[in-house]
Symmetry: C2
Subunit: 324 residues, 2 copies
């Protein structure tokens, strides 16, 4: 658990390079320009939501901003907005829900990187929060981002009948996805199972909880808050659940293949830490097949949504076939 | 910041001993039996809300329960319920809001006790969470309790017109009291100011943010969620704000006097840590006078609420005049 490792992730993991859009070059939809536009909107909104401070909490806010503006993919907020669009809504009123997702994701990275957890010095080629500042500040920055996520949720603009009920439902969804029965529980299970023989159901539990639930919640939330029909919400939920697990399997694969290709010498950090992974349990090819099967299931769920779901389709390919 | 100290707090800090109710013996209201009844209700509800688990998150839940059931005063949930009663509501539907307050308070203690923060091994005579379990588990237990607080908020039973709007307002209130502009910000300011010369406005900033805002939010929330009038909400807000600061000044005083009386030899832990306190800045007597003045202001605000506010009046005396 406290074994020292460094991440071999490139300086920025923006979804913009050729690797990310390879799978979509044949189609009419241009994922690359869609992503550039959306990421810009998300970054602009986050900059407004989290301005620098120069008073007694200046250091706290600087630490929050350090981790928030370090070149993340913005996948979860993108999914909130793209899910709303797939239900026929522009999604601009949901920006605060999208930002809330990124706050939760970022807090989880800050706490995961702490010496008592994964003890990582680098993330995306930059010093992790506790290295750039100190451990106490990193713990508090994580706490503040988690709390701020829920403040942002209360500021989501929703209209129409039942809007407040839906917003409360979305907040509950986020708490469940992020808390002891979701992401935090998955992180605990991951730590408890380190260096132990883990079977496939246990590994699926860890992956769906640690990563999957938040990605699934992003998709479901986008649908819920846009006032989608029950069928639309269900479709987006299936898409989110399959892509959430597929995302983590792809991560496992990259931790083996990505590192080999880039470093040319060392096995993945997961193996060094004694973490169970899909490639270790079922082999690389079967893992790839499983991720592809999940993607197909997710894409099938989107079918009734028609062309408006094109960004989500492109994102599904990206999630499974990305190289960073 | 990492200087090792141990807390000199008795095994349990329940508000039930003679010290806690001295100030109320003359009055007709029996604080001791009121507290015993309410604490029992709160504990019973919390036991139901946080049952033990025996699966992959068993260790996480055990750590949450370890800190949750270690003899805390339950002051914040008590204030939620008593504030609702003062507005003429039984408050039983608000139990989840009361529990949410205790979850936030408990998470803050778990994280504050961590080696990177106050590095405390003992709290209320029992091992702190990271000692009883480990650091990673303690960090996650805090994260899970903070997240669970907001899940509990979404489960608060409210009725009548505008109930959902009021609930969303209460959730926002809690995020602001707990987050970067509230408790977490106060903790950051406290750490940044350690071993520095601090003036009175800065100390008041630290105290109101680190402790005051959450206590104030408990009172305001009880009023808000019970559908109180604007005047009642305002009265409870003034009461909460004054008692929040008074509570922390009383804590400062106890850290000097309490320790001397009990240990008979050593100065308070605040001084050892280089923390600014009211007694250090304005002397013991002036600090006591200031706390009393705040209490009088809080009691004056309660005046229009009549006899229903009797528990809050007794709690005000307890907060300022307690010996533990």
């Amino acid at each position: 658990m406290t074994k020292k490792t460094t991440k071999t992730i490139s300086k920025t993991s923006r979804i913009s390079g050729s690797a990310g859009i390879r799978a979509n070059q044949a189609g009419a939809f241009n994922l690359s320009s869609y992503l550039k536009k959306k990421q810009k909107e998300i970054d602009r909104a986050m900059t407004r939501a989290l301005p620098a401070k120069h008073d007694l909490i200046g250091q706290l806010v600087a630490a929050m901003r350090h981790s928030m503006f370090s070149g993340g993919k913005r996948l979860r907020p993108l999914l909130v907005l793209a899910a709303a669009e797939a239900c026929g809504k522009p999604g601009t009123g949901l920006m605060n829900a999208a930002l809330a997702m990124e706050c939760i994701h970022t807090y989880s990275l800050i706490h995961d990187d702490l010496p008592a957890m994964d003890n990582d010095d680098l993330r995306r080629g930059q010093p992790t929060c506790h290295i750039a500042f100190d451990e106490a500040t990193a713990i508090l920055a994580g706490d503040a981002l988690l709390t701020y996520a829920f403040e942002l949720m209360t500021k989501v603009k929703t209209n129409g009948s039942g809007a407040q009920k839906r917003l409360l439902e979305a907040i509950e969804l986020l708490t469940r996805a992020a808390g002891m029965n979701g992401m935090v529980g998955g992180q605990m299970a991951d730590l408890v199972c380190e260096k132990k023989a883990v079977d496939l159901p246990t590994l699926e539990y860890i992956h769906t909880h640690k990563t999957g639930h938040l990605i699934a919640a992003a998709c479901r939330m986008g649908a819920l808050l846009s006032g989608a029909t029950g069928k639309q919400v269900k479709a987006l939920t299936i898409y989110g659940e399959t892509m959430g697990l597929a995302f983590q399997i792809a991560d496992d694969i990259l931790n083996v293949v990505g590192d080999h290709a880039k470093m040319g010498k060392q096995a993945g950090t997961d193996e060094a830490r004694g973490k169970a992974t899909y490639p270790a349990l079922m082999g690389l090819n079967a893992s790839r097949d499983h991720a592809q099967a999940l993607m197909r299931k997710g894409l099938a769920a989107l079918q009734p949504l028609g062309p408006k779901a094109e960004p989500l389709r492109a994102l599904a390919h990206y999630i499974v076939e990305r190289e960073v």
